[in-house]
């Protein structure tokens, strides 16, 4: 190739232009993230090492007293840490068969309709739908019906079971969709190949179908689990005062007792837990799906 400065210049220029386009394309999202995610996060991080002002709110300081005080909300943490994974798991157990049916068994012309039916409830606010459950489970709902047939004094509302039900109901689509996508993408010939090699339907399901849909399962699971870590509405409406979540603790601390620094410390801890959940989930699905990288969410 003949030496010369000629080729280098246009190349650098086009590279620059490419970078500029990339930057412009990314700018709106980046701006959004900085204003609505990074800045609030920094503020919360600063709050969390401060002190509560005498009349409530924040007062500058540098202390880890708020973090040391975390055990005061141990129950909320405990409830959240138990119900979030249990809720996500319950969601998964209900969602997998549905996603499996939709992706592999449903007749073609029904598939879109069924998918729509799963997504449509999302168009109504979760608040409304959870209120509906409040009535269904409340004294004048199912217990009243059961009283007719002689089953008296059944308490459904304000129990952990009611919260679990609300969680499964509210988050089901978020679990179904990623699993559906991973099953839909599954090459059907792999299932035939497995059968051809002598695998019974059960071993084909365990060895191929389930295995190859695990990235979708992990995505759904971590998505639901992280949202559940910050859940506030369902425990409030269906759990009464009894099933107290971190989300409820945060509302209480920020809005009622106005202890912003303590609330911030709890929030930061919650974020860290979420990040750990994400990293672990990502690790697992990367390993499960072979060497290839998997992007969660």
């Amino acid at each position: 190739m003949p030496a010369g400065s000629q080729p280098a210049f246009p190349m650098r220029r086009s590279l620059f232009r490419k970078n500029l386009v990339t930057a412009l394309l990314l700018a709106p999202a980046a701006l959004w993230l900085v204003v609505f995610l990074v800045l609030p996060f920094v503020a919360i991080a600063i709050f969390s090492v401060g002190e509560r002002a005498p009349e409530g709110g924040y007062q500058a300081a540098l202390t880890f007293a708020q973090y040391a005080n975390l055990p005061a909300r141990a129950t909320a943490f405990w409830n959240t840490m138990v119900l979030a994974p249990v809720g996500a798991l319950a969601c998964l157990l209900v969602a997998y068969p549905v996603a499996y049916y939709l992706a592999l068994r449903a007749p073609d012309r029904w598939r879109l309709i069924l998918l729509a039916l799963i997504v449509i409830p999302f168009w109504t606010s979760l608040l409304m739908r959870t209120y509906a459950w409040m009535y269904i489970l409340g004294g004048r709902g199912i217990p009243a019906l059961l009283a007719y047939v002689g089953i008296e004094d059944l308490r459904l509302i304000n129990t952990p079971g009611a919260v679990l039900l609300g969680i499964v109901y509210g988050y089901l689509p978020l679990m179904i969709l990623p699993i559906y996508v991973s099953l839909e993408r599954l090459d059907r010939r792999l299932l035939e190949a497995s059968a051809d090699l002598g695998a019974t339907p059960v071993s084909t399901f365990l060895g191929v179908t389930l295995r190859l849909s695990l990235p979708g399962v992990m995505t759904g699971f971590s998505l639901v689990m992280i949202l559940l870590l910050g859940e506030y509405l369902i425990p409030t409406l269906l759990g009464g005062g009894k099933v107290f979540f971190i989300g409820n603790a945060l509302v209480d601390l920020f809005l009622q007792s106005r202890n912003w620094p303590f609330g911030s410390a709890i929030a930061i801890t919650l974020v860290l837990v979420s990040v750990v959940v994400l990293i672990v989930a990502n690790r697992i699905s990367t390993r499960l799906s072979g060497a290839r990288r998997v992007d969660l969410i």
């Binding site: 792999l190 035939e192 059968a195 002598g198 799906s289 072979g290």
Partner: protein, 378 residues
């Protein structure tokens, strides 16, 4: 062929809704043979293979494997294995795990020592020793092909089914794999059923060719038989190149018929089915059965329109007045080669017994392969 056939179809029909993919096939595939299912796209080859594998159930009739009716037997209980068209290797397993997949399904369970030993043997059989720990996506297309082959053969099936296994490979690799497949089949001695729409591949690789068309089997025979004695016009046309000349039966004399061609020339042709005087026929004349000489002798006269010199042979497109363009193929002997030039008049002769007459309704008076031949030489 007195032994029990490895695969037998008895009046098998397969319908998909209104589409009849396979209609009334009777077929016995002899044991320990390399058999090619050959036919144009959509003729039902894959459907036949999938009925043997158990992925489709015949709408009517029976499929037997080694004499046993397979109705109601699911794929995982059939003594056959399949090499899928796009290989269908498990992406989450490495090469060795893919190959040992079938062995792990065996009941009673095989010891892990036996599994890894047999997987190792299968790997060396397809010349992939040392590749066991590779991921599937780290293999080339040809290597994936071999893994698919090993994964099927390691189970010691009674019959190996291959659905266009070489279609995705480039020409050089395909030729190598054709030879390798043939060698493997001879070594192992089980029946291979290979689906292909490439007639050259079918002729070169197999002991028997089963030609299919429109959901039916038109001919089952050895490659030379298929080529030399095609059962009907479709086979003559589909397998190998040929010239098809339209004419009418002018006279009958024993095994032969005299056919009057469009230009009035009468040639003697062999027949495969009874023909009657006056019947419209197509006469198949293979390009290599035509001999060219200087004007004077021969049965037909024409003018060379085009020539392709291929080294050992030369192909000519020859314009024959009233008949159309004929394709001729002549051997080329070094030193003796006086190639005919385009524009030169030639006489065309052929050996007695080379022309084959088939009943044909669509008599338009010219070489029906004209377009195709012109295409080949343009």
């Amino acid at each position: 062929m007195t032994a029990v056939p490895d695969i037998e179809f008895r009046a098998v029909t397969k319908r998909y809704g209104a589409v009849t993919a396979v209609s009334g096939i009777d077929l016995a595939i002899p044991p320990s043979a390399f058999v090619a299912l050959l036919g144009p796209s959509g003729c039902g080859k894959t459907t036949c293979l999938r009925m043997i594998g158990g992925f489709e159930q015949p709408s009517e009739g029976q499929v037997l494997i080694r004499g046993r009716d397979m109705a109601g037997t699911p794929p995982y209980r059939r003594p056959v294995n399949m090499v899928f068209q796009q290989y269908a290797l498990f992406p989450h397993l490495d090469v060795e795990e893919n190959i040992s997949y079938g062995l792990r399904q065996a009941r009673p369970r095989l010891s892990s020592r036996e599994i890894s030993q047999r997987a190792g043997e299968a790997l060396s059989m397809v010349q992939l020793a040392g590749y066991g720990r590779r991921k599937i996506h780290e293999l080339s297309g040809g290597q994936q092909q071999r893994v698919a082959l090993a994964r099927a053969l390691v189970n010691k099936p009674a019959v190996l089914l291959l659905d266009e296994p070489l279609a995705a490979l480039d020409k050089k690799l395909r030729t190598d794999m054709q030879i390798e497949l043939q060698n493997l089949q001879r070594e192992i001695g089980i029946t291979f059923v290979l689906v292909t729409h490439d007639q050259e591949e079918a002729l070169s690789m197999s002991d028997f060719v089963c030609v299919m068309n429109g959901g039916r089997v038109v001919q089952l025979g050895q490659p030379s038989e298929i080529y030399d004695e095609p059962a009907d016009l479709f086979v003559a046309d589909f397998v190998g190149k040929t010239n098809l000349l339209s004419g009418t039966v002018a006279g009958l004399s024993g095994d032969l018929v005299d056919v009057a061609l469009a230009d009035g020339t009468v040639i003697a042709a062999r027949k495969r089915v009874p023909l009657s005087r006056g019947e419209a026929v197509s006469v198949s004349l293979r390009p290599e059965s035509l001999s060219l000489s200087a004007p004077g002798g021969g049965s037909l006269k024409g003018i060379v329109r085009n020539r392709i010199f291929l080294g050992s042979t030369a192909e000519y497109a020859i314009e024959v007045q009233g008949i159309g363009s004929l394709l001729a193929k002549a051997d080329h002997v070094i030193g003796q080669g006086n190639l005919f030039q385009p524009g030169e008049p030639v006489a065309i002769g052929f050996a007695a017994g080379a022309p084959l007459a088939f009943p044909h309704a669509n008599n338009n008076g010219t070489n029906q392969r004209e377009d195709q031949n012109a295409e080949i030489l343009s």
